[in-house]
């Protein structure tokens, strides 16, 4: 195909010129400019590498076919690029514009090269557009895949953190909570605790919030809901592990914890629970 030949020639002969123009565009364009997330050196290195690989890939008969073995280095480079962009917190649009912004320097170069032949220029521009669009779309889809992987991993971590209900004694359950409480998590925690209460016939549950970094009104509300649900089922609830700062916050927020038994640490809570169940500790 003659048309791809011209792109290849332009890429090869005017590489330096194209790169300079592209970098200039990149640094002025707001959407692509890194804003501190990526250094100019890195950007230059990426653009140079992209140009080299594109130039190599453009030598083949159909450069827009990314599945061909010749395009493999280019494809892998783009995948690596969008993966790193995803981790650096770029949006998919910003990532794609990195590729699409190359259109202008390339079209300019093609125009200079084709001289006055309008038909040839149109063909060349079409071929270049097709090529760059394919590359851009591939970048976006890889970017999305990387983002999905990130989300999946985070979900996995959340599940691993999810709170286990442990049996401390006959009729006494404990729920050590770790991490921030949000609605979804509280729901799961509440359900598993209530189910365990039914399964074991336990009368006392201790919720230990030592591992909860902050308590705001929402978290306090979630805790109160759990306590109320437990009471409705006929079980008692003790909240333990309240740190001094949290006690201060709760009072400052005006959260009413009256009617809820609270203890400073788990040991005190267990002692109280044992006492209420009628156990006596002897030396």
């Amino acid at each position: 195909m003659a048309s791809s030949g011209m792109i290849a020639t332009v890429l090869k002969q005017r590489a330096g010129e194209l790169n300079a123009q592209w970098l200039k565009d990149l640094s002025t364009s707001n959407a692509v400019s890194a804003q501190g997330r990526i250094t100019p050196d890195e950007l230059e290195q990426q653009s140079r590498q992209f140009l080299q690989l594109l130039s190599a890939a453009a030598q083949v008969r159909n450069p827009a076919d990314l599945k061909s073995p010749e395009a493999r280095p280019l494809r892998e480079f783009l995948e690596g690029l969008s993966r790193s962009r995803a981790q650096q917190g770029f949006s998919s649009g910003e990532t794609a514009s990195f590729i699409f912004s190359f259109k202008r320097p390339l079209f300019d170069a093609l125009r200079t090269e084709s001289g006055k032949d309008a038909a040839l220029l149109a063909d060349e521009v079409w071929a270049a557009t097709e090529l760059l669009d394919t590359l851009g779309l591939h970048t976006v889809s890889t970017f999305q895949k990387a983002r999905e992987e990130l989300i999946n991993r985070q979900q996995q971590e959340m599940l691993e953190l999810s709170t286990p209900v442990v049996k401390l004694w006959d009729g006494i359950l404990a729920l050590p909570m770790i991490g921030t409480l949000d609605s979804a998590r509280t729901q799961i925690v509440m359900e598993s605790l209530l189910q365990k209460i039914v399964d074991t016939g336990s009368e006392i549950a201790i919720i230990d919030i030592t591992g909860v970094p902050t308590v705001d009104t929402l978290v306090a509300q979630h805790l109160l809901k759990t306590v109320t649900a437990l009471r409705l089922m006929g079980a008692e609830c003790i909240i333990s592990g309240i740190r001094p700062q949290i006690a201060q916050t709760i009072v400052h927020l005006g959260v009413d914890l009256q009617g809820v038994t609270t203890k400073a640490n788990l040991a005190d809570a267990l002692a109280l629970a044992l006492k209420r169940s009628g156990y006596k500790i002897t030396h």
């Binding site: 016939g201 409705l232 006929g234």
Partner: protein, 128 residues
């Protein structure tokens, strides 16, 4: 029309809700129960809702009302065997049923009622 039976057990009344409550049934139960308390001179009511899987705000309020009516008629009410899903629903509906005594199962509910009754007896004896 179907009715929820109110059984007498000594000083206590036993109500087991085995079917899904609908509004008419709930009102009928309220009526039957208050009448039974009056007729038998019952001192305690035990309501077992372990088979109840769905509640709405009306049923929640009805439970709370029955307890309040019992209190006026000098009769302690204990609600036993609430399912986790029901408890969560009631809490989400904002019905925390304050003032209602609860227990995990019938056995514990019974001992709770007996405890309440003996407390009352002691109290009366002291007053005399």
């Amino acid at each position: 029309m179907e009715r929820i039976p109110v059984l007498r057990m000594g000083n206590f009344l036993l109500v087991t809700i085995q079917v899904d409550m609908h509004d008419q049934l709930a009102l009928q139960l309220q009526d039957d129960l208050t009448n039974a308390i009056e007729r038998n001179g019952a001192k305690g009511v035990l309501i077992d809702i372990s088979a109840l899987e769905m509640v709405d705000s009306f049923i929640g309020r009805m439970l709370s009302d029955i307890s309040a009516m019992g209190r006026i008629l000098d009769c302690a009410t204990v609600l036993v065997g609430m399912q986790p899903a029901v408890a969560i629903t009631l809490v989400e509906l904002g019905l925390s049923l304050p003032g209602i005594a609860t227990a995990l199962n019938v056995e514990r509910g019974m001992s709770l009622l007996r405890g309440k009754l003996s407390n009352l007896d002691d109290h009366d004896a002291n007053e005399r």
